[in-house]
C-alpha cells in the first residue's frame, strides 16, 4: 500500500536498530535550542520522552491533564515491568522476550518494532535503578523477579504492587530535573483539544486550561502524542477517570491513520461490578495469578447455592472445585495470557457456574497460604489484599477473592512507522496511544516496558532525525491563520455543546455508550452485533448533539464540558472500533469473533487473509472511513497457532 510506509531499516532483525542509530541524522547543540517539541500527556511515555528530549537540549513543552505529572494514569500499574536480563538464569534472552511478545500478540505485531522493544528493555531497568527506583530485591541485594502470563521465565521486575507508581515517579523526577534546568516547560491542568497543522505537518496544539477555561495556542516543530489508551469508551474500565482517546481522535480527524481500533484487552482479574452507579472498575494485578488459583464449583447446584447465599466458597470440597484454567491449559495453568483467561471465565459464567452476582469466579490463595505461610503471601500481595478488602469488605486471606474480566488496555491506537511517526509528518505517538508493539494482545508487564522504551530510548533518536530537516523552519507564530482557525473551530464546537441544553446528562450518555460497546463490541463479538452497533452509535451521536445537557460556561473550570468533549470523540471512535471488528473476519488475541473459533473454543486466526494491520483514514464527517492495510511480513519468526496447553 503506497500510503503506508513503515520505514523498517534494512538488514538482519537484530541489527536494524543499531543500524538506524548509526545512520540517523543529528542536530547540533546550538540548533537544538531553536527547535521546539510539544509532548502531550505525562504518563510513562510522555514524561520519559520529555525528560530525555529536554536533556538532549531541545526546547520542550509538556502538557499535563492533572495538577501534577506525578498523577498520570501510569501510576496505577501494579504488577511490574518486563526485561530480558536473565538474572534468574532461567533461559531468558532478548530473542525469547521478542518471541513471547510476538506470540502473545497473536502474530499481529510488526517484527522490527517488537525486536527493538526487547533490545532496549534491559536499559530501562538500568535507567530506573540509577534514578533511585526502589525495585524489590532479594536477600543478596540483587534485583528480584516474578512471572507474568504468557511467559515461562521470570522476567518481571517489580516494586511491591506499585511498580507503575515507582516507574512514573522515576520519570517524574527526571522531568523535574529538566524543568529546573529550564529545558522543559511544564503546563499543568491543560488538555489538548486540537492539533494545528501547516503545510501538512504537525505544528502545534490548542489546549484548554482546565482551571480557567481559557483556550491557549502552542506552536512547535514536532508534536508527540502520549495520551494513553481509549478503554474508557466502554465507560466502565480499569482506566483512570481522566483517561481518554480524544487527542488521538483529534489527530485522526486531521489525517493521522488509526490502527487496529478493535483490539481491546479485557483483563481477567478485576473486582466484579456491584451496581449501576459504579464509576470505574478496580484491577487486581495479574501477579496474583502467580500464587492464586482460579476456580468455580464443579457442580452447577453449588454455584446456585453460593449465589443464593446458602453456601460459602469455603464449604466447597477440593474435589468439587473446577480449576478450569489448570484443567484446560496444563502447561501454563493460571498463567495463560489475558485474553484466554478472560474468555475462559466468561465461558464458565455464561454456562451458569459463576459465583457472586453470577458474573464472577474465585481467585483463591488457600494453597499458597498453606505452602508459603500467610506472612509471605502478605509480603508479596499485602497492599492488593488490603485494596480488595476496602472495596469488597471481605478478607481474602480467609475467603477467596471474586474476580471478573474488565476492559483494561487498548492495543489499537494511532498508526506509527518504525520511527513512531504517524501518517502526519512531525506528529509522533508513544506509549499506549500508538498501536505499535502488542499486536492483538498485550502481555502483562509489557505496557510499562513499551511506554518507557518509546520515551527514553526511541523518540530521542527518531524525533531528532525528523528535526534535523527542520532547522531552517522558523517558529510558527501563534497568531498565524492556522492557529486562529484551529482555535475558532474548537471554540465553536464547545459553544455548540453548551447551547444544546437538552435533557440527558453526559454521564447518562456515557453509560449508554459503554453499554452498547460492552454488549456488541465486547469480549465475544459477532457479525450481527457489530452490524447492529453501527446504527445504534449513530443514533447515540445524534442524541448527544441534540439532547445533551452541559451546565456551566466556557471560561471557568467546567468538568462537565471536559467530559462532554471527550464523549463526543469517544462516540466517533466507538464507531471505528465496530467497523474494524466487522472487517476483521477472524479471531486473534483480544478480538474474538464467535464465528471464528476452533472446536475447543479457541481463537481461530486467518493468516491468509488477515495478517495485516488495519489502518483507518478519516474521510470527513459524512463519509465512511477508508481502510488501509499494512501487510505483516514475518521474516524471522515461524508463525504458528498459539498454544498454551
Amino acid at each position: 500500500m503506497s500510503t503506508l510506509n513503515s520505514k523498517i531499516p534494512q538488514g538482519p532483525l537484530s541489527e536494524k536498530w543499531t543500524r538506524y542509530k548509526a545512520e540517523q541524522k543529528l542536530v547540533n547543540p546550538a540548533n537544538k535550542r531553536k527547535l521546539d517539541v510539544i509532548v502531550v500527556g505525562t504518563g510513562l511515555a510522555g514524561a520519559s520522552a520529555a525528560a530525555s528530549l529536554g536533556a538532549l537540549g531541545f526546547n520542550v513543552k509538556i502538557f499535563c491533564i492533572s495538577d501534577s505529572p506525578r498523577r498520570a494514569h501510569s501510576i496505577a500499574a501494579q504488577g511490574g515491568v518486563n526485561a530480558a536480563k536473565n538474572y534468574q538464569n532461567d533461559g531468558d534472552s532478548v530473542g525469547r522476550l521478542f518471541y513471547d511478545t510476538i506470540k502473545g500478540g497473536d502474530y499481529r505485531a510488526r517484527e522490527a518494532n517488537v525486536h527493538r522493544l526487547a533490545e532496549v528493555a534491559n536499559s530501562i531497568i538500568d535507567q530506573c535503578v540509577a534514578q533511585g527506583v526502589p525495585f524489590a530485591r532479594d536477600y543478596g541485594g540483587l534485583l528480584d523477579n516474578r512471572s507474568f502470563g504468557g511467559a515461562q521465565v521470570s522476567r518481571t521486575f517489580y516494586a511491591k504492587g506499585q511498580t507503575g507508581q515507582q516507574l512514573l515517579l522515576g520519570a517524574y523526577s527526571a522531568l523535574s530535573k529538566e524543568i529546573k534546568a529550564g529545558t522543559v516547560k511544564m503546563y499543568e491542568r491543560r488538555e489538548m483539544v486540537e492539533l494545528v497543522m501547516k503545510d501538512d505537518r504537525a505544528r502545534g496544539i490548542i489546549t484548554r486550561n482546565l482551571s480557567t477555561g481559557e483556550l491557549e495556542r502552542h506552536s512547535a516543530h514536532a508534536v508527540v502524542i502520549a495520551t494513553g489508551g481509549y478503554g474508557n469508551v466502554y465507560f466502565l474500565s480499569t482506566n483512570a477517570m481522566n483517561c481518554n482517546g480524544s487527542a488521538a481522535v483529534q489527530c485522526y480527524r486531521k489525517g493521522a491513520f488509526f490502527a487496529n481500533p478493535c483490539y481491546v484487552q479485557i483483563h481477567p482479574t478485576c473486582i466484579p461490578v456491584h451496581g449501576d452507579k459504579q464509576s470505574k472498575l478496580t484491577l487486581m494485578s495479574e501477579s496474583l495469578r502467580n500464587d492464586g488459583r482460579i476456580w468455580v464449583p464443579k457442580n452447577i447446584d453449588d454455584s446456585v447455592a453460593i449465589r443464593e447465599g446458602r453456601m460459602k466458597p469455603t464449604d466447597i470440597k477440593e474435589e468439587d472445585r473446577d480449576y478450569y484454567l489448570e484443567r484446560r491449559y496444563p502447561a501454563f495453568g493460571n498463567l495463560v495470557p489475558r485474553d484466554i483467561a478472560s474468555r475462559a471465565a466468561k465461558e464458565r459464567c455464561d454456562a451458569g457456574y459463576g459465583v457472586g452476582t453470577g458474573q464472577a469466579v474465585y481467585l483463591d490463595f488457600k494453597t499458597a497460604i498453606e505452602r508459603l505461610g500467610a506472612e509471605k503471601v502478605e509480603a508479596r500481595y499485602g497492599n492488593l489484599f488490603q485494596m480488595y478488602e476496602k472495596i469488597v469488605d471481605e478478607n481474602p486471606y480467609e475467603t477467596p477473592m471474586m474476580i471478573y474480566p474488565a476492559v483494561h488496555y487498548t492495543m489499537g491506537g494511532l498508526w506509527v512507522d518504525y520511527e513512531l511517526q504517524t501518517t502526519i509528518p512531525g506528529l509522533f505517538a508513544a506509549g499506549e496511544a500508538n498501536f505499535s508493539d502488542h499486536g492483538a494482545n498485550r502481555l502483562g508487564a509489557s505496557a510499562l516496558m513499551q511506554g518507557l522504551a518509546d520515551g527514553y530510548f526511541v523518540l530521542p533518536y527518531t524525533v531528532q532525525n525528523y528535526l534535523s530537516d527542520q532547522i531552517h523552519t522558523p517558529r510558527l507564530s501563534v497568531d498565524s491563520p492556522e492557529f486562529m482557525e484551529a482555535e475558532k473551530s474548537v471554540k465553536e464546537r464547545m459553544e455548540k455543546i453548551l447551547s444544546i441544553k437538552g435533557t440527558k446528562t453526559v454521564d447518562t450518555l456515557q453509560r449508554d455508550l459503554g453499554h452498547i460497546m460492552w454488549e456488541k463490541v465486547g469480549m465475544g463479538r459477532q457479525r450481527e452485533g457489530l452490524l447492529e452497533a453501527i446504527p445504534l452509535l449513530a443514533k447515540l451521536k445524534n442524541e448527544f448533539w441534540s439532547n445533551v445537557r452541559v451546565t456551566g460556561d466556557l471560561c471557568s473550570m467546567n468538568p462537565e464540558l471536559e467530559k462532554a468533549l471527550r464523549l463526543a470523540d469517544h462516540i466517533e471512535l466507538a464507531e471505528l472500533m465496530a467497523r474494524d471488528g466487522l472487517q476483521r473476519e477472524e479471531s486473534c488475541g483480544g478480538h474474538f469473533r464467535l464465528e471464528h473459533q476452533t472446536e475447543e473454543g479457541e481463537a481461530k486466526r486467518d493468516d491468509e487473509n488477515f495478517m495485516f494491520v488495519g489502518a483507518w483514514e478519516y474521510k470527513g464527517e459524512m463519509a465512511e472511513p477508508a481502510l488501509h492495510k499494512e501487510v505483516l511480513n514475518y521474516e524471522f519468526i515461524h508463525v504458528q497457532q498459539r498454544n498454551y496447553k
Binding site: 540509577a130 541485594g141 516494586a159 506499585q162 515507582q166 527526571a174 482551571s211 488490603q386 485494596m387 476496602k390
Partner: protein
Amino acid sequence: MNLTLKIWRQDNAKSKGRFQTYKVTEISPETSFLEMLDILNEGLVDKVEHPVCFDNDCREGICGMCGLYINGRPHGCDDGVTTCQLHMRKFKDGDVITIEPWRARPFPIIRDLVVDRSAFDKIIQEGGYVSVTTGGVPDGNAIPIPKKQADQAMDSASCIGCGACVASCKNASAMLFVGAKVSQLALLPQGKPEAALRVQAMVAKMDALGFGNCTNTYACEAECPKEIKRSNIARMNREFLCAKTCSEE
C-alpha cells in the same frame, strides 16, 4: 441511606466561599464516597445547577489526586485510605457530612473543593531526583542494595503526594512529604552523592513556599493514607543537620 451534605462552594481563587447544604437519597453502602458525589452532581446537572468540582483520577488510592476534608479529617474517617477509597458503608442513614477542601496557605483554592498543590512539584524540582540523564548508566545489579534498605526506601517512596499531611497539620507543615522523598533517596546508594545538597535545597524551598514548621504533633502520620512514618522526618532532620555541619566545615 439518606444523607445531608454541607459542601464548601467557591467560584474561584478570589471569590468568597460558603457552605451549601444538599441532600442525597438512596445511597447504597457499596457506593464509594466519590460515586456518592457523582450522584449528587448528576442530580445538580438535572436541575441545571453547577456541579461541585472536586479532583480525582485513578479512584484506587494511588494517584493522590483526590483529597477532601471530611467531617474534620483529611480523607475522612477510615484509616489508611484516600478519599476515593472511602466507602459509604462507613456512614449511616441520616448522617450530616461536612466536606471541605484542603485548608493551607500554600494550597490556594481553585474552585469549590479543588486546590492548587503545585507547591509540592516546586519542592521536588529543587532536588527530589538523582541527577542522571537518559543512557550511560551502570547495570541494574552493579550495586547490590541490602533488602532491608531497599524495602525501607520503598516504604518512603510510597508517598502519593496528596497533601493530607499538610492539611492535617496546624502549621501546614510539609515535613512528612519532604522527609519521605529525602529518605527514599538518602537510603539508596544512587541518591548518596547529592544527598547533602538535596536536603538543603528542598528544605529551603519548602520554607520559602510558606509551609510551616514541625512541632511534633504528628497529625500528618496519623492521617497519611499511605501510613508514611514520622521516622522520615527524623531522618530528614538528621540529613539536614549533617549537611549543614559538613558545609560549614
